[in-house]
Symmetry: C2
């Protein structure tokens, strides 16, 4: 039984872990959504129980093992949930893709919070507009182009990023494309059509039955403006 610790009302970075757990039909508890869950999360963050303290949510507890950092959690789970290649080099390649997705997510977050997480979006709008412009025009195409290239180069199955089977990186790319479509619908309509393999991969993952059943359940929260992917029209010019 895995314990996932993350903020209880948003998808956030926790969602990348949830998608893996759900697609693998793993037994897990979303701890912070339970009674006293936030207090337990806080205690683990403070390392009060002798376990290694993560820097921030999300983190996973598996018995006496506590793992923070989304990509590290997925590296750990990938092997156990059969969502990563068996070959070590391929597994590290999958992880490398996930780390690049993590970088993209940080950049998405910074489009609406370029100056400080301690300020509201409304207090940093002008800076956010500038940052979002560079994101839409330079960074977003660079990231999408990289995913397109990788999909194109994977000769074993061009719907997957690595090898022939779905990995956690495919699930994460799906989530990124969903989130980008929510936050930047105009930019994604304009830019996204240049990346047909990304679109196909996104569509294929969205039809995986177990994942679909999660996405249609009430365990899946809707995107919202307290989350990483936020829709502010002025940032999607």
């Amino acid at each position: 039984m895995y314990e996932l610790y993350y903020w209880p009302t948003i998808q956030g970075r926790g969602e990348f872990v949830r998608l893996a757990l759900e697609q693998a039909d793993a037994e897990y508890v979303d701890m912070a959504r339970k009674k006293d869950g936030l207090a337990k999360m806080q205690a683990l963050l403070e390392g009060k129980n002798g376990l290694t303290p993560p820097f921030a949510p999300p983190f996973l507890r598996d018995g006496s093992v506590v793992i923070g950092q989304t990509a590290a959690i997925l590296f750990y789970l990938g092997e156990r949930l059969n969502l990563a290649p068996r070959n070590n080099i391929q597994r590290l390649w999958t992880h490398q893709i996930q780390l690049t997705i993590s970088d993209l997510i940080t950049e998405v977050h910074d489009t609406h919070h370029p100056l400080s997480v301690d300020l509201y979006f409304e207090e940093q709008r002008s800076a956010a507009r500038r940052r979002a412009k560079t994101f839409r025009e330079e960074r977003l195409p660079k990231f999408l182009n990289w995913f397109e290239t990788i999909l194109d180069r994977n000769e074993s199955d061009r719907h997957c990023l690595v090898g022939r089977s779905v990995t956690y990186a495919d699930l994460s790319l799906f989530q990124v494309v969903e989130g980008l479509g929510y936050a930047f619908p105009k930019a994604m309509r304009r830019t996204g059509r240049n990346y047909p393999r990304v679109a196909t991969a996104h569509g294929a993952v969205g039809q995986l039955p177990r994942l679909r059943s999660y996405l249609d359940s009430d365990r899946r929260f809707p995107f919202n403006e307290d989350d990483i992917f936020r829709h502010y029209g002025e940032l999607d010019a």
Copy 2:
């Protein structure tokens, strides 16, 4: 023979890999500092040779294996250079620390480039001052406090982050403290004294003979204002 690919005139993220290679006395070539090196780097970034294309430098080539993402490179090298624990869980913990250091480095970079990497610092000074304030007052103490806690909790050797031996994470923490001392000397004098174990660990790594000999060589570039750690007095109020 490892090939390291990174921009040839700065320490940057490549330095975290260099410190590991140097401390392990590994045979490696800093490719982009060689003739035609930048062209070779570009060809690998474009994946022209059938190898997995990294998203950005630094990346490492070891025969037919190409690995991008600083933390992934160090994960790969740690095992081979005896700079990581043998135990898988401890190795993942070391990696988790490194990923958190990567996050810190991104935040340091964004203190001088909060709006766009396409603008000069001088074009985003006002935003940089605001971002640096939150970094100095909120983020820097949070990161340093986490390192202090981990060092304190490691009962096997309180000069190391994990276990009894130097890992690549210790070398990276050394580099971070060096860089922060260069970029934010005032903030580090004020804040740094609250983290005595971080200071001790930094001092211990700086005296490792092989590392010291690298740091004193002309292979080690000085910090400068084209790099990640930049000293701008106005950001260190």
